[in-house]
Symmetry: C2
Subunit: 450 residues, 2 copies
């Protein structure tokens, strides 16, 4: 350290950084926001993995690159990425680009902080508390606790073993059968097991089914079991006075998981785990009192340092995007979105029924519309012995064609005893009947030779 | 559904959305990027929680708000947030605002996809593979596997119980003592326990200590134990030819955790779990083959659908910010950053030694510089019986003063038998000697009456 002068700024002067960011914002605006949500542009630009690797030139080298090269890389990343905000992206339980939510996400990224202490996240600690309070009120609880959510594949991961999980029967619409739940609990107890948790679902992934929560809560109450409701997909229906009856009984749950990044399009990830408990259970479970972070001699109320309640330590800020969108739309605006999604799904169902070549898997109760496309060569051949086998091969072929053309994306899957069928998800708040009509027309076009 | 016309676009026309986003980008540019990284602005704007709640008007209501109101809310969120990119934010293991990394984060948010399938994240599946390959090569492995990382407080969470964790002795510099490790393994085996994993650390949180990995790997090899290295903080030192010897032996680990969001300032979160294993262990552990997502009859190589390897399902894209920054800086640029952080930390150490009123906790081997500020009234009183007790009360007082003035933020904590001391973290790539001098001058100014 012979040199006593300050180091020069290594990473470019502030002006260069600003120029770069302004240029990137412009590219994002043009390519991801405007073109990415325009029905006249492709939803995806399919490339085989090896070709895409070459186009992207992914290798990380010793030498840095010029600003011009970097901007070209930004354009390429957007060009070859799937446009999940596109009105023809029906592929997942999330879709659409809400400008307020994106604004919240960009601000979040520019502030780059961790949710763990009031010290470094004063706005977001208070904001998350308010957002969670609002979600809990929609569930029907006046108090309680919550933290954002990161638990999946739980039984295996927690060391309980997958054998400890018993699958309860569902009816033909995918809804849990409470009588079978009670039967399985009694059987488990008779075998010396100790049941402790029932996990019900409000809005299943494929069929969009809602379990009958009141009847399930009755069973849980009789047996003293914790009732968890996975409302990741269906939770947002609580915003709708018209449709929230689908979740009647959810207020009797002990815990609820709810992902506003799905139906509300808040942006990945925005996941809440809500607890009815008011005894600070999360802190008792997960607290480890790291003294370098959660000093007890701070000059403010350290109960605001909520980071010790969660399993991870550092945690992203996920509340601003939902909060800002909610402020802009109001609860009423979000309710209209939910109602509108239901209405559009119903419109699609009616169209499917009207058209030759489409067969509904079942009447939906949510915004998942499941159906088969029956190509011309299979129409009227229902009695043929290989009908099902041939029908189930249609979806993968059409999926390949639509992705390679970039005209739309919709998911398919087998489910139970049923072979591959399409699952249309009406989640993008910008959808109109035109997009529903397009979906059916496009399947007809893509499958006319099958 | 009497109305057969398309719904009108509910959430404003595209032009309104664009106007909003352009305005928000401008606010982010001015308030978060320019002012947020300017030494002439405050690092934080302290408000008591109750006052801040009122200023932010957090309540979520039924009615939506005008664009003007929303933009004012965006400004308020930034105004009252801590500026972690500020050159006087020394509070955490992350600091600084890298323009390329932020550009990558904004693009990521605008594309809003999930990392789980090639189908919806073609660019990012390939990019993450390349980034992880590069990180593994720096560890010293030619092949292996990796996924981003979300496991903490592991023993309790995994159901092993905290009693199953044995803490190995560290020397006075915080480095694990391999002899004690071997002694504890033998003791555990003698008690009938089955040790299976040793977790060593490269760069501890407070002292920045590096465990002696070669000697620890020898012990693990003798006893057939899995060696995990938590290099969340210190992993980035592998980029420096000058300093990577601190991690000698890491290539013998079975798994390594590394957070480029810390020293490399990639942005929260960017965490990698790297595995030497090449047998697809993650898939065997976590795979659950959800048929609605990981269809086996897809038209491309489904080995690219990596989502089933991780504990969670939906997963954010965390690779682009690091990839874009690496492309712009090159490995050389990142190496200079690491070397520069070491050099600045060393400069600070020399200054601390020169100045009256500062006492080094120990010679650092990394960029954590731990020291006490001894206020005027305590200087020369080391022999006084209440010296330590009074000294340890200094840091919380100075912390309150600096936060309320908004002049800087630096963390303090007790550690082992030592009472509260400051932990200076030299992580922000924009730091200069001026900022080191400022730190010491400011502590003197804030503590002159103590």
């Amino acid at each position: 350290m012979a040199d006593s002068k300050p180091f020069p700024a290594l990473d470019g002067d502030p002006e260069t950084a600003e120029t770069l960011l302004r240029a990137v914002f412009g590219i994002v605006m043009d390519e991801a926001v405007r073109k990415g949500t325009s029905a006249s542009e492709k939803v995806c630009e399919w490339k085989e993995p090896e070709e895409l690797k070459q186009l992207l030139d992914l290798e990380l080298r010793d030498q840095g690159e010029s600003q011009e090269q970097i901007l070209e890389r930004c354009r390429a990343v957007i060009r070859y990425s799937v446009k999940t905000g596109h009105p023809r992206f029906f592929n997942q339980l999330f879709s659409g680009l809400d400008a307020h939510a994106l604004a919240g996400r960009v601000i979040t990224e520019s502030l780059n902080t961790s949710q763990y202490t009031y010290e470094i996240a004063p706005v977001f600690v208070l904001m998350e508390e308010e957002v969670l309070k609002t979600l809990r009120a929609l569930v029907g609880w006046r108090s309680g606790d919550g933290c954002h959510y990161s638990i999946k594949k739980g039984a295996a991961f927690l060391g309980l073993g997958t054998d400890s999980v018993r699958v309860v029967k569902a009816d033909e619409r995918g809804k849990m059968v409470p009588k079978d739940l009670e039967r399985q609990i009694k059987m488990a107890e008779a075998e010396g097991a100790v049941p402790f948790l029932v996990s019900a679902t409000s809005g299943t992934t494929v069929l969009g089914a809602f379990d009958p929560l009141e009847a399930i809560a009755d069973v849980c109450q009789r047996h003293g079991l914790w009732l968890h409701v996975d409302a990741a997909w269906g939770g947002s229906v609580l915003l709708s006075q018209t449709h929230r009856h689908l979740l009647d009984g959810i207020q009797r749950a002990d815990s609820v998981a709810w992902n506003p990044h799905k139906l509300l399009a808040a942006g990945l990830q925005c996941s809440a785990l809500l607890l009815r408990d008011t005894s600070n259970l999360l802190k008792h479970c997960h607290g480890s009192q790291a003294s370098y972070l959660f000093q007890q001699d701070k000059f403010y109320d350290v109960a605001l340092d909520t980071g010790d309640k969660v399993v991870q330590c550092g945690r992203r800020v996920d509340c601003l995007k939902l909060w800002l969108m909610w402020k802009a739309q109001g609860g009423q605006g979000l309710e209209r979105r939910v109602n509108r999604a239901f209405a559009l799904a119903q419109y699609l169902v009616e169209e499917v029924k009207k058209r030759e070549g489409f067969e509904l898997v079942m009447e939906p109760e949510f915004v998942n519309v499941c159906f088969w496309f029956v190509p011309p060569s299979l129409r009227g051949k229902q009695e043929s012995p290989d009908y099902s086998q041939r029908l189930y091969k249609v979806a993968p072929v059409l999926k390949e064609r639509m992705v390679k053309e970039g005209s739309m994306m919709i998911g398919y899957q087998p489910h139970g005893t049923r072979g591959n069928f399409f699952r249309m998800v009406v989640a993008n708040p910008a959808l109109t009947r035109t997009d529903m009509d397009f979906l059916l027309n496009e399947l007809e076009r893509l499958g006319q030779d099958l």
